[in-house]
């Protein structure tokens, strides 16, 4: 058994957490990083960008540049149609999967 169980768990779901965040609104790298780091889903911005690159290669997210009056021009990430479909698929599978695991490890499980 691996010593760092939480790292293994995060690795399996962090891509879908990013898709979930982007489903609410387009976000730029730094804001994504802050949101994920605050919840302990990634260790640093170094973890985020390889995942974003992968998601973009898979066509699940797209990017666009947007400036603002108060800040620099930023690269925003948003969910593509394929990304929405992928997220829906994951949502359908996640609840029964989590329930199944709970059935095995829950303290009430017999």
């Amino acid at each position: 058994m691996t010593a760092d169980v939480s790292a293994q768990l995060r690795k399996g779901v962090v891509e879908y957490c990013i898709l979930g965040l982007l489903a609410r609104q387009p976000m730029y790298g730094w804001s994504l990083s802050e949101a994920l780091e605050a919840r302990g889903m990634i260790a640093s911005i170094g973890t985020l960008y390889p995942i974003l690159s992968r998601l973009r290669t898979q066509g699940l997210v797209t990017t666009y540049d947007q400036g603002s009056d108060s800040g620099p021009v930023r690269k925003y990430y948003r969910l593509s149609t394929a990304g929405e479909q992928q997220l829906d698929l994951f949502r359908q599978q996640w609840a029964p999967f989590a329930a199944t695991v709970e059935g095995f490890i829950g303290e009430d499980a017999s």
Binding site: Y28, S44, I45, Y49, P50, S53
Partner: protein, 206 residues
Amino acid sequence: MIDQTAPQVVRNYLAQLESALGGLPTDVRDGIVAGVAEELSGLDAATAAERIETLGDPAFIAAEARAESPAPVITAPAPAAEFGMSSQRWYIVLTTVLLEFGGIVIPLAGWVVGIMLLWASPLWTRVEKLVATFAPTGAAAVGFIIAGLVFQERSVISADGGETINPIIPGFAWHAAVFGAIIAAVIASFVIGIVLSRRAWRRTAR
């Protein structure tokens, strides 16, 4: 590209980050540097230093990025012709003939030379090389045991010169076992030689 008008602390940090990210895929490296540069853009030195503090050591960021990035794509092997001598057809023939008959002509040494030639060539896979190296020994062991048991000596010479059957501890037929081991190793080497020869021949024909 690092903005040369940015505060020194920002320029230093971005330069360190770029350096630490060396070797990563370009889009990942550029994405990280651009993302950090965006966030530090327009900040005064003190505020930028605070942000940099939360970002952490560039070496740590780079290590995290490497851990998350896929391994470099392994390029397809170059055509056989580029491997030189060890991919020539005469080399294939020499190697496989030595594997098949080298151990008979020059006991053990001939086969060992064949194995050395095999490992020196890129025409065979690692698995094929391992099988060719160890299968004859395995076959010899099997042949040894089977022959020793099949031809076991059921009688022993008693003190008065007569032969008696020993049904409890039958004698292991050592001579037959050694002969069986040699035969099995020779057969295995012969089969392996043929298989390796055909495979290498196909690869050089591509």
